[in-house]
């Protein structure tokens, strides 16, 4: 018997040793061949720009496709994409795009204005079931068409004047419209390819598969192994191929941030989609640190259900908010990589500064709570806070629970819910306090402030203020100048925070590990990557020795 044991042990050991013949790391190989190894968070739902939603999808689609414009990653200003230039009409309601003269699909076909007209009709077709259809709503009649109120696509405010000229008519002047042109819901798809594999609005086709898909971006799809990797390679037909420096990108569905960090540490990845919270201090203290952080256009907050007692009393809502020591949370729980938030809009969106009406004020919080009828927590009916299952949500909720207990002497119970249960609770307003985050689709305060219009689809707090609605829906869009518009937004947001239907906690930050060899990938407010500008420098490989 013991002999068997010896034999088996020997076999296992030799297998182990055989396996240990160290190969070249992905990063070393990639730096030599110009291939970026990219941790992309999760397996994309698909690659059809009019079907998918989500960040990992957008990273791949941005490499494969191109909208009329493409943001410059340093300034976030629109640069020419499928359109070489554009001009606005006098009243800023009509935009004329001139297509890129050398614009080509990856099969060599020219990219024309007709492609965009056809694609936008597809994106807005109710049968398509496009969750991001609303991104095109500033276009004339788009909302009516997408919700089935009109049937005739000819009525949409998008026309091809000729092959190379696209005319877009808007409902009203929309300062952020050009930004929407590099969101994937406004991208063009190749009509002939889509129709070869099914109806235009069919979600179940194979047109996005390797070998089938035709795209107009800097890269084309080379390989797609489910839950394993997606490989894209240089698209030789791309109009600006000379600018593109990478030869390819490998996207990994790195769901687990902890594993992703380990892959990065042994040079299996150039870039991670996320960084585990507790690894931040160690990475930050490295010389020449690969840790990159930047403010991100999003706010982390709690929803308060203003229709249920005790939260129907604004004093209770304010007491809860004033009792939260946001500085302590960002410093100790989040390791200092986020800024405390005191309003819904992230600071500095195009120069807009949200109001700050309050700060951490335990005495005032206690006073407000007493005034509402719960002096020192006496008679407090209890409160339940829900959050969707996640390590960082839990940490924040646990810290908050204790702050409320310490400052207000009230009991708050925590309840984490599985994602879909949580979504259901929030949309049915079946909660008292619920964790929530909102990431902007485009850089403009409107994207945050229109959440809280009365009966808005994403309001979820029951807050209703006609004056606020008027400011956001009627007066701000008609403002003559950006200053005037921002002043109206400021007034609206002040009203909102006086009602305190939400408790802002912090402003999001994007956090990545980026290998020192990766260049041309600046941190920015949108966490936006323009793959055109990325290149790899053949720096000597470093070992990341943590502590």
């Amino acid at each position: 018997m013991q002999n068997y044991a010896r034999v088996v042990t020997c076999c296992l050991l030799s297998a182990l040793l055989l396996a240990c013949s160290a190969g070249e790391s992905n990063v070393a190989q990639g730096n030599r061949d110009g291939i970026l190894h990219f941790g992309n968070g999760s397996e994309p739902q698909g690659l059809d720009p009019h079907v998918v939603t989500g960040v990992p999808e957008s990273k791949i689609i941005d490499a494969l496709f191109e909208g009329l414009t493409r943001k410059n990653p340093w300034t976030l200003e629109p640069e020419p994409g499928a359109a070489a230039s554009w001009e606005f009409s006098e009243d800023r309601r009509v935009i004329t795009f001139h297509m890129q003269p050398e614009g080509r699909w990856s099969n060599g076909d020219p990219v024309t204005a007709h492609d965009f007209v056809w694609s936008w009709r597809r994106a807005l077709d109710p049968a398509m079931g496009n969750l991001y259809a609303y991104m095109l709503y500033p276009v004339k009649n788009a909302e009516a068409y997408a919700t089935g109120k009109i049937d005739d696509p000819e009525l949409l405010g998008v026309r091809a004047l000729d092959d190379m000229t696209l005319e877009v008519t808007l409902n009203a002047p929309t300062p952020y419209f050009l930004q929407l042109m590099d969101h994937y819901s406004s991208f063009a798809v190749h009509r002939e390819t889509v129709e070869r594999f099914g109806k235009a609005t069919d979600r179940f086709t194979r047109w996005t598969r390797v070998g089938n898909i035709v795209s107009n971006g800097p890269f084309q799809l080379k390989d797609w192994e489910l839950n394993r990797r997606i490989v894209v390679e240089r698209n030789p037909h791309y109009w600006d191929n000379d600018t593109v420096r990478l030869n390819g990108i490998v996207f990994y569905p790195t769901e687990n941030a902890v594993s992703e960090e380990r892959m990065f540490r042994v040079n299996q990845l150039h870039y991670t989609g996320d960084v585990p919270l507790n690894k931040i201090p160690a990475y930050r203290s490295l010389p020449n640190t690969p840790f990159v952080e930047a403010p991100y256009l999003g706010t982390y907050f709690y929803l308060l259900n203003t229709e249920r007692p005790p939260l129907d009393d604004v004093r209770v809502r304010k007491a809860l908010s004033l009792a939260v020591d946001r500085e302590a949370i960002t410093r100790n729980v989040l390791y200092g990589s986020n800024n405390p938030a005191y309003a819904i809009t992230p600071p500095g969106t195009l120069g807009y500064q949200p109001p700050q009406l309050f700060s951490y004020d335990p005495a005032e919080a206690r006073r407000l709570l007493a005034e509402a009828g719960y002096p020192d927590g006496d008679g407090w009916p209890g409160l339940e806070l829900i959050y969707n299952t996640s390590e960082s949500h839990r940490k924040i909720a646990v810290a908050l629970q204790q702050m409320w207990k310490d400052v207000l002497n009230i009991k708050v119970t925590l309840s984490n819910q599985e994602w879909k249960v949580y979504l259901d609770s929030v949309s049915e307003m079946n909660f008292q306090v619920a964790r929530r985050g909102w990431i902007g689709d485009y850089v403009d305060p409107n994207n945050f402030l229109d959440l809280y219009i009365t009966e808005g689809g994403n309001n979820n707090t029951g807050i209703a203020d006609p004056v606020y609605d008027d400011l956001i829906l009627q007066r701000a869009p008609r403002a003559a100048t950006q200053e005037e518009r921002f002043a109206l937004f400021h007034e609206a947001e002040t009203r909102l925070m006086e009602q305190m239907p939400i408790i802002p906690i912090y402003t999001y930050a994007s956090k990545h590990l980026v290998h020192p060899s990766v260049k041309g990938l600046p941190a920015n407010l949108m966490d936006f990557i323009n793959v055109k500008y990325i290149y790899l420098e053949d720096v000597p490989l470093t070992e990341f020795e943590l502590e």
Binding site: N278, N332, V398, L414, S415
Partner: protein, 295 residues
Amino acid sequence: MTAANLTSVAQAEQGTSLWKDAWRRLRKNRLALFGLAVLTAFILIALLTPWLAPYAYDAQNLDLGASPPSAEHWLGTDIFGRDLLTQIMYGGRISLAVGFVATAVALVIGVTWGAVAGYVGGRVDAVMMRLVDILYALPFMIFIVLLMVVFGRNLLLLFLAIGAVEWLTMARIMRGQVQSLRQQEFVEAAVSLGLSPATIVRRHLVPNALGPIIVYTTLTIPSVMLLEAFLSFLGLGVQPPATSWGLLISYGAETMEEYPWLLIFPGAALTLTLFALNFLGDGLRDALDVRGSGD
């Protein structure tokens, strides 16, 4: 009781009752006694935790954060600056309760089910075991999520849900045991003596199949504790600030490079319990091993 003893062919050689005899033998087994002592101590600590714990279990000190063991905090603190010893003591209450109660549920259902199926055989056996197959094949995650959603979240339900899952393997093992025992002479003798099937199952089959069942039980308790951790981790079990060993370990595992003590101490508590259970289980198995007793 005495009548059954007299008619039991297998136990005829024993003068004293099975349980008394077993206890006598268990007392000689030092490791088993050690296990029993540790378990008793842990259970006592768990019961007395509200009076023994050095700190309040939810008292935070965010500015202190995670600190290694010190004079004030013997086992260190977690990232919220909460005392780890206190956390482990409170966590033990939940873990031990879940472990024992859920396992007991599984044991009762599984042993009865398996014994009946194995003894009766034929169609009844087929139907009963197919039911086990169905439950095995059900998507466990959905089942638990539904239970929690439909009936709300409470600890008792967690026990039941875990027990309801864990009894399946128990039933299969028990059935296998009973099937092979049923063919043995002493059972055939009991049948020919005209004992009722219930008596035969209770008096002869269950005691003789106890060995593997006890071993499996000592395996089930820790796996139940870990299952609880997994469920809590998915947000389906205990809610913070309440905690359990399994949860502490799963949090500790995430920060094992930065704050190893957060993993080591809860892990040690669970491992110690497991060893204790195991020694006790082995001791019990040997003590109850009626056929080995003649040696």
